[in-house]
Symmetry: C2
Subunit: 343 residues, 2 copies
DNA sequence: ATGAAAGCGCTAACAT
DNA sequence: ATGTTAGCGCTTTCAT
């Protein structure tokens, strides 16, 4: 290892002690608000300023077995849902005196690497939005307190929001408006909330479609959560006969992609086509038309996640615990992208 | 400190050595690909698996004086420009075998805290997008290699993109289209690229406006980089007489906010109003109409930043170095939000 | 209240 | 090639 990369001048407790004319123990005590006479405390503090001393968090954590750091591993920091989650997790953690290391794990392999890196860094706890359901590698992580957000892993605490309820609210709203031929842009089915949204859709819409004599399967397109999937799905759905008059999606990004597709093929929203999103990211009310969507309280999810992980970390490791599941309420936000069918 | 929060069972090199019947030195050597006989190597590797051992990165860094970690401190992870930057920095760093800790510092105070935390964690280098120009606290950080992105701090390496050139290209394009009364949504003037965009605008548009007998100051609105500022600015600008037929902005988010405002007051884009963005975040081509904007190569900025910081970190600390400034080219991407003035 | 000293988990220099 | 050991910078007994 190249030792030149060490900061040659970084002062240590020892240097501070020397400068202040006290022992290292005393320096450590002022650093940690221990009992120190005012006179010596002042001397130490002066020395700290003089030397521009900064405690080495590595050494400190090594000694105390805690880092006051949480790890957050998400699939894609570029996705507004996750970047907002990251933001709120940071804020909630900071409030409790914790830092967070976030890792954006675009692939499952990368996720595994991140998880390991973060554990090797001895974070005190872990918040994870895993890629898929079956994450065997979490088991090998040791007994770091871990909470899963927006997904589900057997045996761990999970924080999610009420996907079924949200979807049901969408469908109810649309049928009330007069729609019956309702399409669905579904998300990846190995992701829990996407599956729930899909299942709830089928449960509610299949009867309607059967009445019209068409198979539900023709009115569902599976894809990712991204814009492109929404775009492509809408192109497909718009080709069905009878053409759906409304489409529910699994993310705002899909919905915005669908909006784009409508614009491209001359379908007016909502006159010719109603679109409903999912998530209510801040962009939702800035597109044209403003998106009717299902609001997920990301801030609250973040707060619950941090609280749970801190809770786990405060209890003895071997204490028995049943995993806890928090399902946060979800709410339909009505804006401009839905209306009665024009036919 | 509460010792219960330590992982009680986390095995150490010593445990592995015991299990494998070798010395700690040998274990360390297999961990670091040193010379070890195949036979003992195998024994150690087996022990590692058996114990589910993970090296303690803290102890390792403490000993070697390097963490193979970079710190990235940005103003707001929620802003797509920065989240894309974060993503690409992570990728570029990973390629070189480095991890990155990202901190989203919404306030200047928070920025200072992050910078300190990250230095205390002994990151090998730092990439920073500072809040304001005058960041006295970076000086007190010690001599960590630091590169500044998209801003400028005296004495440090900086990576930026050609804001002036980008703005000039917008204006040229608009005048070619026939516009002369061009408004401007400016960004915070203590942020370098925002100031450059503004200055370039004034330089180019003031002569045009003077001809029309109106003061430029009436055609500029200052704000943040966010949607709301763009929205509000456009509302103001649309009230001027003569009404501008085109507006240049300082970010895509501003531009999207402006698009919204146009929709609200019944201004068609681009027929009644041309809008040009800045940044070309992935969202730009997904709004309706698709945004004509100035493309910044975020990926390239990220790569340059990582490369520079790695470079600094490889050279001896006391070696003389003139700060380097990389200004990356910028490019006008023509999509649908601009057209000739209809009047 | 303070100093001396042990030790957190690891690597690297030194012996062998 | 392998074992032994000092020490990275810190906190925390244990004496005093």
């Amino acid at each position: 290892m190249n030792d030149r990369s060490a900061n040659p001048a970084a002062p240590s407790v020892r240097d501070v002690a020397l400068e202040a004319g006290v022992s290292v123990g005393t320096v450590s005590r002022v650093l940690n608000n221990g009992r120190v006479s005012p006179e010596r405390r002042a001397r130490v503090e002066r020395a700290i300023v003089t030397l521009n001393y900064r405690p080495n968090a590595l050494a400190r954590s090594l000694r105390t077995h805690q880092s006051r750091t949480l790890g957050l591993v998400i699939p894609d920091i570029t996705n507004p849902f996750f970047s907002e989650l990251a933001y709120h997790v940071e804020v909630a953690a900071a409030e409790a005196g914790y830092w967070v290391i976030v890792g954006s794990a675009i692939t499952a392999r990368r996720e595994r690497e991140y998880l390991e890196a973060v554990v090797e860094r001895r974070v005190d706890g872990l918040i994870l939005v895993p890629h898929r359901r079956l994450v065997d590698h979490v088991a090998s992580l040791g007994d770091v307190p871990l909470v899963v957000v927006d997904r589900e892993i057997e045996g761990f605490d999970v924080i999610s929001s009420d996907a079924r309820g949200g979807t049901a609210a969408c469908i109810a709203y649309l049928t009330e408006l007069g729609h019956s031929v309702i399409g669905c842009v579904a998300g990846p089915q190995d992701v829990l909330p996407a599956r729930q949204r899909y299942e709830q859709y089928v449960e509610l819409v299949e009867p309607l479609l059967r009445e019209a004599g068409v198979p539900v399967s023709d009115y569902v397109c599976f894809g990712q959560f991204d814009y492109r999937s929404g775009f492509e799905a809408l192109m497909t759905l718009a080709g069905r006969t009878p053409r759906p008059t409304a489409v529910v999606t699994s993310s705002d990004q899909q919905a915005i992609g669908a909006l784009r597709a409508c614009a491209n093929i001359g379908l007016r929203v909502p006159a010719d086509m109603s679109i409903v999103g999912f998530d209510d990211v801040s962009l939702a009310e800035l597109v044209e038309p403003r998106l009717t969507t299902v609001h997920q309280d990301i801030e609250s999810m973040a707060q619950h996640a941090v609280q749970r992980v801190l809770e786990r970390l405060a209890m003895p490791r071997d204490s028995p615990h049943t995993p806890h599941a928090d399902v946060l309420p979800t709410e339909l936000v009505i804006r401009d992208s839905c209306g009665p069918p024009s036919a």
